[in-house]
């Protein structure tokens, strides 16, 4: 038996049984009260004050009241008055009547109770059937089979609401799981590709008995590139994981962070004859310095990668009311609307072999978006009419500056 099922015990006294018993008990109590009440009322109606009864009897029979006091012999040999005799007959009749009533009442009560328990059992089962469906679905679900739904039919009652809520929760879970799976698949793809390059290079070169020093040098060069790429992916995945929550809060000047990022990318920019045209005004925010550094790094890195050789990249930081803004603008290919909307998705790369050759991991702008989000800010990308991209990051600024 699987551990999942072991933890799932049947309730000792099922809800169905409890509903049936309480329904039956209430029915029985009400019926019992009715029977007792009837008994008491009938008894009261039958047993009158003896004097009044005899008076009424005498007047109904047109007998003088004194007649009731006449002595008559009893079967046992003694004497008694007519009144006493009649009262005795009446008492016996009432006694018989009440006894019959009691017997019938209790039989009726027993049958009704049995019927009510049976009907209650059926009705409770019927009402609770949707619950079993919910339980069955919940039990059959696991992370890999989240596609099942209860889809309960019938009137919109409490159980239907429960089932629908459950279904909605499954929708959310499924999309979260599938996003997670896709992310893991993408991450593993990004990590496996450089591994495959290293492995193939090693296999091919080492298996070649005629390999020259030149071959080994080239192999080492390719492997170094692949290793650097793995490092980059791992590093970026770490930053993405860290940007899930804000751990460090301190005063950070976006201008200083950006300026440092530009300095770090200067060699790469020089290699492609790119220049930076900067307008960096102080823009203080409270945030995580390391995360904001990687935001600036990835934004500048993206521009340095995609800007056409020899062009200028415009970088601006400023305060706009309560907002600290970082804006990076560069030329390049025209970006389609579809690409613009997906630019910040993890592992999204614009689908051209030219971009693939530029070696981005598809995580840079996703990091920018994640860091902006965790700081309560937003990021926006716009295409330029002349081609290229403007990325604007808006972060809630520090109130004190």
């Amino acid at each position: 038996m699987s551990p999942r099922k072991q933890g799932f015990r049947r309730p000792s006294l099922s809800l169905r049984l409890r509903l049936t018993l309480s329904y039956g008990a209430v029915f029985f109590a009400v019926a019992l009260v009715m029977v007792l009440l009837g008994y008491v009322l009938i008894r009261q109606a039958l047993i009158h004050d003896p004097a009044e009864f005899l008076d009424r009897l005498a007047s109904a029979l047109h007998l003088p009241p004194s007649y009731l006091n006449d002595q008559i012999p009893t079967p046992s040999g003694g004497d008694q008055t007519v009144g006493a005799f009649m009262r005795q007959i009446q008492d016996e009749t009432v006694e018989t009547l009440l006894h019959g009533l009691t017997v019938i009442s209790f039989w009726a009560l027993a049958i009704a109770a049995a019927v009510s328990i049976g009907v209650g059992w059926l009705v409770a089962g019927r009402m609770l059937r949707p619950l079993n469906e919910i339980v069955d679905v919940a039990r059959s679900l696991s992370a890999s089979t989240l596609d099942e739904r209860i889809s309960l039919g019938g009137p919109r009652d409490e159980l239907k609401v429960l089932a629908d809520t459950f279904d909605e929760m499954l929708d959310r879970l499924e999309s979260a799981f599938s996003a997670q799976r896709e992310f893991a698949a993408n991450a593993s793809h990004e990590l496996r590709t450089p591994l495959a390059i290293v492995r193939t290079e090693l296999d091919v070169t080492l298996a070649d008995p005629d390999a020259t020093l030149e071959d080994y040098r080239r192999m080492a060069g390719t492997m170094r590139k692949a290793v650097a790429r793995s490092e980059d992916v791992v590093e970026k995945l770490l930053v993405l994981a860290q940007s899930e929550e804000l751990r460090d809060r301190r005063d950070v000047d976006l201008a200083a962070v950006t300026s440092a990022a530009i300095a770090r990318h200067q060699p790469a920019a020089d290699a492609r004859s790119l220049t930076f045209s900067t307008d960096l005004q102080p823009a203080h925010i409270t945030g995580d310095l390391a995360l904001l550094e990687s935001l600036a790094d990835n934004l500048i890195d993206n521009s340095v990668r995609y800007a056409p050789e020899g062009e200028a990249i415009a970088v601006t930081t400023l305060r706009d009311g309560a907002i600290a803004r970082l804006r990076v603008e560069n030329g390049g290919e025209t970006v389609s609307v579809d690409d613009l909307s997906r630019l910040f998705e993890r592992f999204y790369r614009r689908d051209t072999s030219r971009n693939r050759a530029k070696g981005g991991s598809g995580l840079g702008l996703a990091i920018v978006a994640a860091v902006a989000k965790v700081h309560g800010g937003s990021v926006h990308a716009a295409g330029r009419a002349s081609g290229g991209l403007v990325v604007t990051v808006d972060l809630p600024g520090d109130r004190h500056t």
């Binding site: 793809h189 496996r192 591994l195 495959a196 193939t200 091919v204 689908d351 072999s353």
Partner: protein
Amino acid sequence: MRVLVIEDEEDLANAIARGLRKQGMAVDVAFDGLDGLHKARLNDYDVVVLDRNLPGLHGDEVCRRLVALRVPARILMLTAAGGLRDKVAGLTLGADDYLGKPFAFEELVARLLALARRASPPRPPVLQRAGLELDPASRRATRDGNELDLTKKEFGVLELLLAADGAVVSSEQLLEKVWDENADPFTNVVRVTVMTLRKKLGEPAIVETVAGVGYRI
């Protein structure tokens, strides 16, 4: 044996091509889906090594179209997405085999040879005819038990002639299968290679020239 490698990671594609060429295969490389599809339709490949995650045209789509076009080449899908679902999806699309990255190069070679054997008509693992024996996997050829020292191209030509099982193989077919796309179609390399091959095979001569058509054993 001629192979097309469609893989967008240039370092990987080049390493695979280099390794396969050392195994005596004629290898062409395409770095995106569209170029790959174009080459696969243009040339007569034995096997296409197809990456799944391709720019230009996704590997799945390339596979689907190759199958729809009834391109005779066998398809080996190569991808970093090595989950069960991906394998099933790839094979469902019409791929003949599936290999996850990273892979052992030996395994790739073995699978390619196995796929080439499944060509129609199917080939035995070791080709035999007229006292000749040729094993594509170990790259050894013998005549009457004597080891032959053949170059890659000579080996390739002999392999095709043996696989034809007595039928005539044209110079164009030899050029198509043994040389890659960089070979000049008007070259006499085939004639020269057949000549040196004959010399190495020795007497009695078994490679017959069918005038104006080609060669046969």
